[in-house]
């Protein structure tokens, strides 16, 4: 165990805790996207596809096929964000697991990178579950779901790491409800997952483009439709990566300040 890098040892700490409730967790990450797909994709889709003008806006694919990659990415966003708020504050102020780790030879960098590794695993599991649900329907089944899962992991981390940095210095947990309501839910609704961003006013489009979600949705959609613009993929991924790296950097600095005052 001592031979493994610190980040993996921190990730294995998370894994040990997760063993107690993974079944319920996996079930809901399979069932929830399935329900969304049936409700929004098939149900609302029947309304959308009936409307003649909608085919031009969606690029002549069915609404279910259009929504599917969005669902894959938003699931990872919601997970990465949610798991980096209360659990991080809990480990720092309620249960103080981070202080326990800091008492060993591991330090703040290992904790942050360990959280990053753990989030990559969790987002990978959740996104694979969504991909599995999507591959049950002929309209949404495609090989593009496999790179789509990788994009979902990237997007999950691009929310998890900056939000972890925020959670480390947050004063009380009421702030997290604010993040949830004024950042995550608006991005879920206006981030280009349920309709093309071009439907929205220009100002809203620009705000949505600042955050990594839209970039991920665009790449995932390219992959699932099978027409991939590699330069675009590289550009969007690089932008998402900037968010991850910046988040990690700030989180390490802030956690050091908290653990060794």
């Amino acid at each position: 165990m001592t031979a493994t890098p610190g980040a993996f040892r921190v990730a294995s700490w998370h894994l040990t805790a997760y063993r107690r409730f993974w079944r319920m967790n996996l079930l809901s990450s399979l069932v929830q996207p399935m329900l969304y797909l049936l409700g929004l994709g098939v149900g609302v889709g029947s309304l959308v596809d009936r409307n003649v003008g909608s085919a031009d806006v969606l690029g002549s694919v069915s609404y279910v096929a259009f929504v599917a990659p969005g669902l894959l990415i938003t699931t990872a966003m919601a997970l990465g964000a949610g798991e980096s708020m209360w659990p991080v504050m809990g480990s720092l102020t309620w249960q103080r697991g981070y202080h326990g780790i800091a008492a060993t030879e591991l330090e703040a960098r290992d904790i942050v990178l360990g959280h990053c590794t753990w989030m990559a695993i969790r987002c990978g599991i959740a996104a694979s579950a969504v991909a599995l649900a999507l591959s049950c329907f002929s309209e949404t089944r495609s090989w593009g779901l496999i790179p789509g899962v990788l994009v979902a992991i990237l997007v999950g981390l691009s929310f998890a790491m900056p939000i972890m940095a925020f959670a480390i210095t947050a004063k009380y947990d009421g702030a997290f409800a604010g993040v949830q309501r004024f950042l995550i839910i608006p991005l879920f609704l206006f981030g280009g997952a349920f309709y093309p961003l071009s439907q929205l006013p220009t100002v809203v489009q620009w705000i949505a483009k600042v955050f990594p979600l839209w970039h991920g949705v665009v790449i995932a959609r390219d992959f699932s439709f099978g027409d991939v613009d590699w330069v675009g993929v590289a550009g969007h991924s690089a932008y998402i990566a900037v968010w991850i790296v910046a988040g990690i950097w700030v989180a390490i600095r802030r956690l050091r300040g908290k653990l060794y005052p």
Binding site: S28, L40, G43, L47, R50, S54, Q199
Partner: protein
């Protein structure tokens, strides 16, 4: 005589004390209460800005209406459900198991039924706050037809009452925070398949399944109020919601008695 028949735990005398406690407690966290209003608002704006064009016209009560006019009353009903459920599950769990507020309440002359009714009343009040403001937004967006729409408020109160009671009753069975995942997973089909985002006709021969959802009955009521169309069948929908609420309140008070008076 009546007092002899009803067990002491079922007597409701001072539920307002519970509500008073919450008002004092939330005075410093008013932002959390206020922010709850924005979620349905974002949904409505998103539907209006993005999906409405894609969907086109939908037929409702014999008229062709825009998609946002179709969705708005349903969003109002489902946000009443959401508010009531979250207040009566997550918050109640915290107060019951972790903050131990009910133990403190029962050390006073309050009965378990006081606590149950007080909690459900608080969830209702909060829900009405959101319903009023949502109706205001609907009116501002031109989605309200007549003064009959004001009746959507009591309809939402009924939806809130039913779900707050169900939520409170089920919280008494919860083991810990991980069980909240069951709540969110259970609410999702209710929110999606209660004729909220698409008409019940889309289900074809499966439409009886939708009738099982308590939210569906609430959605019908709010839509009827908004359109000002009154039918005798609405009484049936009201009866379903009231019946469910009564059953849940009795269960909740019984369970609280067992849990807190061990």
């Amino acid at each position: 005589m009546l007092l002899r028949i009803i067990p002491a735990s079922m007597i409701v005398r001072r539920p307002h004390r519970m509500i008073e406690r919450h008002i004092v407690a939330y005075k410093r966290q008013w932002l959390i209460v206020v922010s709850g209003f924005f979620e349905p608002l974002f949904y409505l704006i998103s539907m209006r800005a993005g999906l409405s064009d894609l969907v086109g016209k939908v037929s409702m009560a014999g008229k062709q209406v825009s998609y946002e006019a179709f969705v708005a009353p349903a969003l109002m009903a489902s946000s009443a459900m959401n508010g009531a459920i979250f207040d009566s599950t997550g918050n109640v769990l915290h107060r019951m198991k972790y903050a131990r507020i009910y133990d403190a309440a029962l050390a006073t002359p309050m009965s378990p039924a006081d606590v149950a009714v007080g909690e459900i009343g608080w969830a209702l009040l909060r829900g009405q706050l959101y319903a009023c403001s949502f109706l205001g937004v609907m009116a501002a967006l031109g989605l309200v037809d007549s003064w009959w729409s004001l009746l959507a408020l009591p309809a939402c109160a009924l939806v809130g009452l039913t779900f707050a009671s169900i939520g409170f009753a089920s919280t008494t069975y919860m083991r810990g925070w991980t069980d909240m995942e069951i709540v969110t997973t259970a609410m999702m089909p209710l929110a999606l398949f209660s004729a909220t985002f698409f008409p019940i006709s889309a289900y074809g021969s499966w439409s009886w399944l939708v009738q099982i959802s308590p939210l569906y009955h609430g959605v019908v009521l709010v839509r009827a109020a908004n359109a000002g169309v009154w039918e005798a069948s609405l009484l049936g929908h009201i009866a379903v919601l009231v019946g469910l609420a009564l059953i849940a309140i009795v269960i909740a008070a019984r369970r609280l008695d067992i849990l807190l008076r061990k």
